[in-house]
Symmetry: C2
Subunit: 208 residues, 2 copies
């Protein structure tokens, strides 16, 4: 590996079979804690097209979890037991965790990664490893028009910033959500904020 | 919503169609920054059965990204362009981001969420929102025997802690990975660390 040049030979990680015993392993979930689960479910379901697949309540430990995924609800089984089995085989779920009482706290509650300062003792930005969740859509510009109508907070509209054709929005807790196309990167002349394809600023590192 | 009781009526988020315009939206990625991409690729590919789907190098911005998912490499197209299109329609990828030079820093580099203190100015634990990634497997106990042979660091073997039958391991940066079954929770008498099903400690909140 040559760090100076930013090069790494990764060919062996692309080719060949998966190691013995791992062929059925599945990337099922990303868990995030949220301040107010109702606000989060509204955002992910009403704005981003997710459905609630199943949930579990743990009053003895004072938290609930809600598993959501952007899938058709017609496929979701009816019983809690069948929902669990279905969910555990569904790649790309988000596990939304609610610790009781967080919804009554003032302001933001959880550090969302990147350069966020929420949840620190000294109020200073951290060097956060978690970056964002990424949703792909048939048309990034159309999706962003829709988000704008729904008053979603943008940190980057498609034509602002250095990478044209992708966007970043924030969920109710401030987690970053990247919006990407389901195919080649396409750049349109004007985006939902009226930014032209030759406009906007340069590349911005979200961790800073 | 009644926070005192930890109850929330979520039925409307389960039922009904997805909002107009969102039916093709897809949860494609979770982005995490890593200190050393070679170590991370070794862990995710050799231990967790992921394959590298595609990568992009941005020397002008001094970072690379590697998209990985636990899928058969035979399905991965041959050209970078086709790999992009394939990847953007694949739910449950991890986008591994490498900022050049991090691999030369001392110790851990990035805050991994939960109650981690890495990457803070004062060295104190944060209230982290990001919790973990979750991999589902046909048999949690067998998977953990395999992980133990590969010297994976556990924070919870299947029979330790309050929830029997699931495990937590750490990736090279310290991100938590939950290991769950692809079906009903099954508890076996003895786990990879020799902990009995009636042993272990009680429930532990990872955020503390």
């Amino acid at each position: 590996m040559s760090a100076t040049e930013g090069k790494l030979d990764v060919s062996r990680f692309m080719a060949g079979p998966r190691p013995e015993g791992t062929s059925d392993y599945l990337m099922q979930q990303t868990m995030i804690r949220v301040k107010d689960p109702e606000k989060s479910l509204e955002f992910y379901c009403d704005v981003l097209g997710f459905k609630l697949i199943m949930f579990r309540e743990f009053p003895q430990w004072e938290f609930n979890v809600y598993f959501i995924a952007p899938v058709d609800s017609a496929s979701t089984p009816k019983t809690a037991e069948d929902q669990w089995d279905y969910c555990m085989k569904l790649p790309g779920c988000i596990e939304v965790t609610w610790n009781y009482g967080s919804e009554k706290e003032e302001g933001k509650v959880y550090n969302t990664g990147n350069g966020d300062s929420t949840g620190t003792s000294d109020g200073k930005q951290i060097k956060g490893g978690f970056g964002h969740l990424g949703i792909t859509v048939p048309d990034v510009y159309e999706a962003c028009e829709r988000f704008k109508e729904k008053d979603v907070e943008f940190t980057k509209t498609p034509n602002s910033g250095g990478m044209k054709g992708l966007a970043f929005v924030k969920d109710p807790d401030g987690y970053l959500i990247e919006i990407l196309p389901q195919g080649p990167m396409i750049v349109k002349d004007i985006d939902c904020n009226g930014v032209r394809a030759d406009g906007g600023e340069g590349y911005k590192d979200n961790s800073k």
